[in-house]
């Protein structure tokens, strides 16, 4: 175990240098980028906000099932299926029919089924039915139907969340999908997430609807911004989808902050027609079911440009314009988890983390030197190279360092020497019985090898599982611990062994104290 071929030696040091050189990249200035790799600091260290958003698709599913009513009724009629007692209940439709089997035949046809499409990747239909008593059947979205709805709502939401956050202008935001219903948002450096939370908390569905006493589409009673109760037609003249831009502006006469918007061609046509036909009437601007304002239509607006006023402060006008620009969210978003760390706490954490790392490191080094003298020195060299390599690997992976991650490094320092301790103790034992010192070192290394491997693989298993199941900071701990074990094995078994061999072989079987 002490004989190294030249190639081996070159390989060992080459690997060591190639990996640890990356750790230097962390020292370079931002403007002077040679290779753009760095260990990232977690939010707990650099400060910032972490938000976990969940789409709430209940209302969307209700809407979608309602949109199935007319097609299903048509299907029934077209195929001469008699039905009665058709009801819409929350997320299900139900009716009574005598010929359930024939209905199922049409309902579950794979070819050109627009009402109940077959989703190939899930091998399932979008809708499913339940046969109830008395020839009643119940129609609802299947598990995979809901999954598909959630999925597309989630994709859309992520896009809109990204637009809104980019518009606010925070630095380097991370926006990721998490599971089937969640969006993870990380906003480094953000001290107070309230404004962003407010912006993400609104779906921003904008409608223009006429104020009218009676409408063939039915009316909603809503309270206007001035407190009067208004009856508003359910018919949507135009919605926020047709907006191409919205900007805050100041109306000159009253110095009042407003939001001016411009419409796309279709929107301009719709808006033009509606305002031409209804001069003198009032048009309500409804955002998320609340009236912002309901101004009079004084003259037809055909230019495709308009303005919304509503007693805004300038901040409110800015935020509304931002929301309208970014588009409406398909579903409301709930904030299910939120963690914000102030920048000075982050700095404190880095400082105390690094101080404890240095102190722990020095203590271990002193102890090892006291215990094993020259070989303690070797173990310490191995320990330092271990840390350099650990930093190097973390840089290559552009891993995120968290506070528990620093703890993982410190723990690695404590446990890294274990491999060398195991070997040295074994050699001591061998020295008791073995006359040839070189031989004792040799067998010491080979006998300790299995133990070292066994012992470290168990910790590696723990780290791997932590990585797979841990969240956020804990993951950071698992990464440093796991990589630390691998670099430890390398530094103890290759670097330290080679250094040991240099000493032992040069010493030429003279007495060695370990």
């Amino acid at each position: 175990m002490l004989n190294f071929s030249k190639i081996n030696i070159i390989l060992i040091y080459l690997i060591f240098i190639l990996i640890s050189i990356f750790s230097i990249l962390n020292l370079q200035n931002k403007d002077n980028v040679f290779i753009d790799k760095k260990i990232n600091l977690g939010l707990d260290l650099q400060g910032g906000s972490y938000l976990l958003l969940e789409i709430n698709s209940d209302s969307l599913i209700k809407e979608k099932i309602q949109s199935k009513v007319i097609p299903i009724k048509k299907l029934l009629k077209d195929n001469n299926l008699r039905y009665q007692d058709f009801k819409i209940k929350d997320k299900t439709l139900s009716f009574k029919t005598d010929d359930i089997e024939r209905f199922k035949l049409f309902f579950f046809s794979k070819k050109d089924n627009l009402i109940n499409p077959y989703i190939d990747n899930f091998r399932s239909y979008e809708l499913d039915i339940n046969e109830l008593e008395n020839n009643y059947i119940e129609i609802f979205f299947s598990k995979f139907g809901i999954l598909t709805i959630n999925n597309s709502a989630l994709k859309q939401s992520i896009e809109i969340v990204r637009r809104r956050i980019d518009d606010v202008g925070t630095k380097e935001p991370t926006i990721l999908q998490r599971g089937e219903k969640r969006i993870l948002v990380e906003l480094p450096g953000l001290k107070d997430p309230e404004r962003i939370k407010k912006l993400l908390g609104k779906t921003a569905q904008l409608n223009f609807r006429l104020v009218s006493e009676n409408s063939e589409f039915g009316v909603d009673e809503l309270i206007s911004e001035t407190g009067e109760m208004l009856k508003i037609s359910k018919r949507i003249v135009m919605s926020g989808e047709n907006l191409i831009d919205a900007q805050p502006s100041i109306q000159n006469q009253q110095n009042e902050p407003t939001v001016s918007f411009s419409l796309d061609r279709l929107g301009a046509q719709k808006f033009g027609r509606a305002t031409t036909d209804n001069v003198g009437k009032r048009l309500a601007i409804v955002l998320d079911g609340k009236i912002i304002s309901a101004p009079n239509i004084n003259e037809p607006i055909t230019s495709g440009n308009g303005m919304i006023s509503g007693n805004f402060s300038f901040q409110e006008a800015t935020d509304l314009a931002l929301l309208l620009r970014s588009g409406a969210l398909p579903t409301p978003l709930d904030i299910v988890e939120e963690r914000t760390v102030g920048p000075d706490l982050g700095e404190d954490s880095i400082r105390s983390g690094i101080i404890s790392l240095i102190v722990g490191f020095i203590l271990v080094i002193l102890f090892m030197f006291y215990k094993y003298r020259i070989f303690g020195l070797i173990a310490n060299i191995a320990l330092i190279s271990n840390l350099l390599m650990l930093a190097g690997v973390l840089t290559i992976l552009e891993a995120t360092l968290t506070l528990p991650g620093i703890a993982g490094i410190i723990l690695t320092v404590g446990m890294a020497v274990d491999a060398n301790v195991l070997v040295f103790e074994r050699i001591k034992e061998e020295l008791k019985t073995e006359k040839s010192i070189i031989h004792a070192f040799d067998t010491g290394y080979s006998k300790a090898k299995i133990t070292v491997l066994d012992a470290n693989i168990t910790t590696l298993i723990a780290a791997a599982i932590l990585f797979a199941f841990g969240s956020g900071p804990v993951k950071g701990f698992a990464i440093t611990l796991g990589i630390g074990i691998i670099t430890t094995l390398f530094s103890a078994y290759f670097l330290a062994r080679h250094l040991t061999s240099l000493i032992v072989l040069r010493n030429n079987n003279k007495e060695i104290k370990i």
């Binding site: 133990t451 012992a455 199941f469």
Partner: protein, 302 residues
């Protein structure tokens, strides 16, 4: 430390009685007193703030009591003027809660307040975190069990897993007795303890296996004793270096890492004890002898 020849086996009985007693006490405490779950697992809101040193915890408490938030816990957190506020989970997640609390405190306390950390975990997320933590710990135990079973005989597997349970339960028991908070980083600590304790046990087991095939005539008790003695120096030195690092985190690593490092310190001490006094006696109990290993010879011994 060289040439140790302590008689560990003679102390097995006493140690086992002590272990079983402490283990049972821990189970009783965990069941009846319960664990003090933090907001990660219980849901709720946590606010860490720094303010004037003359502001008392009681005045923060009074201010918050007016808001009728339910169970509110205010305690000093590290330096003077640093406080940690915990508000229990309401059924509905109120997104306005945090700004309301912030405003109220800023207005009422009449002092400069720096909100250093704000966390809010909803009920769904907290129950998921708890579930995934339990899965993680169980999986880790299962994976270790499996690994040892492949590398050694089943008796060793049983021995090491009993030792692991012993360590984890007693650590949690101590957390229960002291009402220390269990949060995500404690779970990380528990898993690391599992790894460390396993590491320690494996080293002794490796030696027992080696000695079993070397000395076929000696009883398992003597083999265990011999092996523990042979590896004792390593056991102690590694524990010392690990503890040096851990105490450094505990004392200097700041308030947030304190619980984590405390759990780890406990774990390292208990884990070291258990590999000698729990894992080894079980081999005797399961009547391991050199014959047990004969079957292993057919397997691959590296």
């Amino acid at each position: 430390m060289i040439n140790t020849n302590l008689n560990f086996v003679s102390k097995f009985k006493k140690a086992n009685i002590a272990s079983i007693t402490i283990f049972l006490l821990s189970v009783i405490f965990i069941t009846f007193k319960g664990l003090n779950f933090g907001i990660d697992f219980k849901g709720g809101t946590l606010i860490e703030l720094r303010t004037d040193t003359n502001i008392k915890a009681s005045s923060i408490r009074e201010t918050l009591n007016f808001m009728e938030l339910g169970d509110v816990n205010v305690k000093r957190f590290g330096k003077e003027g640093d406080y940690l506020i915990k508000v229990e989970q309401k059924e509905v997640n109120n997104n306005k809660l945090i700004p309301e609390i912030k405003n109220k405190l800023t207005n009422k306390l009449n002092a400069e307040i720096d909100f250093r950390r704000v966390e809010n975990v909803g009920p769904k997320v907290s129950s998921e975190l708890l579930k995934s933590s339990i899965i993680a710990i169980s999986l880790a135990l299962a994976a270790m069990l499996f690994y040892i079973w492949i590398r050694f005989e089943w008796q060793f597997s049983v021995g090491s897993i009993v030792a692991l349970f012993h360590d984890v339960i007693i650590t949690l028991g101590i957390f229960s007795v002291l009402s220390l908070e269990i949060n995500l980083s404690i779970i990380a600590a528990v898993l690391t303890i599992v790894g460390y304790s396993m590491n320690d046990t494996v080293v002794i087991y490796d030696r027992i296996r080696e000695n079993l095939s070397k000395y076929t005539k000696i009883s398992i008790s003597d083999i265990a004793n011999l092996s523990i003695n042979e590896t004792l120096a390593r056991t102690i030195i590694t524990s010392i270096t690990t503890l040096l690092a851990l105490f450094s985190i505990y004392i200097l690593g700041g308030e947030i890492l304190r619980g984590f490092s405390f759990a780890m310190i406990l774990g390292v001490i208990i884990g070291t004890y258990s590999s000698i006094f729990v894992a080894s006696p079980i081999l005797k109990l399961l009547k391991v002898s050199s014959k047990t290993l004969e079957k292993v010879d057919e397997k691959i011994i590296p």
